[in-house]
């Protein structure tokens, strides 16, 4: 098992603070600078450079979708919501952007460091899960391809052996079973769908 790195290396990381000019911005900037991050505040829009930011803090009170250069929930970095009013509609909106952590306003002398670590961890976990789900979905979608490839290899005789052959082909081609199946189906189709045998 690999052990996650525990000294969080935040030096030189960049953070954008999407909030109108306000003492809250100063309080966050001070804490971020003390930790070692480079900060930039902006309002009402995130500039293009924000796409390369390591963290984005955004105002949940006055924020709106058009401020972000990405669709709600698809931010390419961890987001921290700055919540002042706990109006349900505003919280719902912050949730639609999948904020990974939150800070309550007014921001005092602490809170930013834990928000950074929590946001980063939950963002990484979410990204990891999303990519795992995408790859599983893709594999599930290939069920039919596998059935067709096994049928093409077995020519109606022994399905078990045909499946074993498919797996060993995948291994020798060093690709997934699904990709191997797709290749076999494509070859079979090229051959006009007739039942000439395919030999690897």
């Amino acid at each position: 098992m690999t052990r996650p790195p525990r000294i969080p290396n935040l030096g030189g990381a960049s953070a954008f603070i999407l909030h109108r000019p306000h003492p809250t911005v100063q309080a966050i900037t001070r804490q971020l600078s003390a930790i070692g991050l480079v900060t930039q505040d902006c309002w009402p829009e995130l500039p293009p450079e924000a796409l390369a930011a390591d963290f984005v803090f955004f105002d949940a009170d006055l924020g709106f979708d058009e401020q972000f250069p990405w669709k709600p929930g698809e931010a390419p970095m961890p987001l921290v919501a700055l919540i002042g009013s706990e109006a349900p509609g505003r919280i719902e909106w912050a949730l639609s952007h999948k904020a990974d952590a939150q800070l309550l306003k007014p921001v005092g002398n602490a809170g930013v460091y834990s928000a950074l670590l929590i946001a980063r961890q939950s963002f990484e976990a979410r990204k990891h899960l999303a990519s795992e789900i995408a790859s599983l979905r893709q594999r599930v979608a290939e069920r039919q391809t596998i059935v067709r490839a096994v049928a093409a290899l077995s020519k109606g005789t022994d399905d078990g052996r045909a499946y074993a052959q498919l797996r060993s082909l995948a291994m020798s081609w060093q690709i997934s079973v699904e990709d191997a199946a797709r290749r076999i189906v494509a070859m079979t189709d090229e051959e006009g769908g007739d039942d000439q045998s395919h030999r690897a």
């Binding site: 098992m1 525990r6 000294i7 030096g11 990381a13 003390a34 070692g36 602490a110």
Partner: protein, 364 residues
Amino acid sequence: MKRRIEIGILYSRSGSYQLISDACRLGAMRAIADVNADRRYGIELVPVERDPQSNADRYATLCEDIFKTSSARHVVGCVTSWSRKETIPVLEKAGGMLWYACPYEGFEANEHVVYMHACPNQHLVPLMAHVVPRFGANGFLLGSNYIWGWEMNRVARDLIADAGGKVLGERYLRIGETDVSRLIAEIRATRPNFILNNLIGTSSYAFLAAYRDLAGEDQAFSSDACPVISCNLTEGELPAIGESGKGHLSVGPYFAPRPAAFASSFEASAYASVQVIADVLARDPDAGPAEFSKAFAERRFSTRLGPIAIDAHSQHATLPVIIGRIADGFFEVVSREDEVSPDPYLSRYDPAKTFGRPRLRVVS
């Protein structure tokens, strides 16, 4: 007529870490006397003193008392991180400032605290970088059971892993506990390359004495084979440790030369704290937090620790990093690096730079 300015002093005059507390208090009081005797300052500092008697619960109330009953806005005080964290809400409420003259575990940057002694990139990281290539990377971690020991050992676990070593044990004792027989037995059984000592006060003295007895029985535990390394051990505690400290290592921003201006880095740091306060207030007796912050951003301060810069963002001091080996009643300097900027969150920590090229590991 000199302007009188009250200044809070919050050090315990009794208890298990009294030697450290006394050293800090002495430094602050000496500096106040020297500032008052020096015409150039044109101010008179009047100490407002409270004694929490090493009771962590009394720091906040006594700090509040200083703010309520005097005009003091600056307090030089606190030894343990526990007491520092207890006073922070009071400081925030009163708009006061704590000048903290002890090494601490890092990962804090409160704008009501000025951190005048070392943080991890100025103590633990350079100390481990020194020890690992010379003695090995396998460590045994000790601590008193509160935040200093817990957090220091947490960072140490990461450093040891980065250095390719193993943590062979991690043990905590209640503050003031002196029964160390089990620790000694475990160290004898696990045979580490070094021991990181985050015990404080009487527990630390008891451990060092018992460890010396162990070395007497087995040379593998002599200080030149398996040293005890500390980030808060200074000259002030050498009389309590005596012969059993000999050869072991410590790190700090100051070790007393002979003859010495100060007996320890605690004293020197507390002295420097008062010097910086006096320096800013002499120019502007009404200076508040904003003016102090501006002074940190713009200036360096000449103190008895040498020229000092204070990082305006984190309010931590730039300090020398000195590694010392205990000789007869003093530390001989093993290595020295000047003007190491503070990095309280270890944001700039680089394992490759600290421990050289990373070793290849078996991937399982």
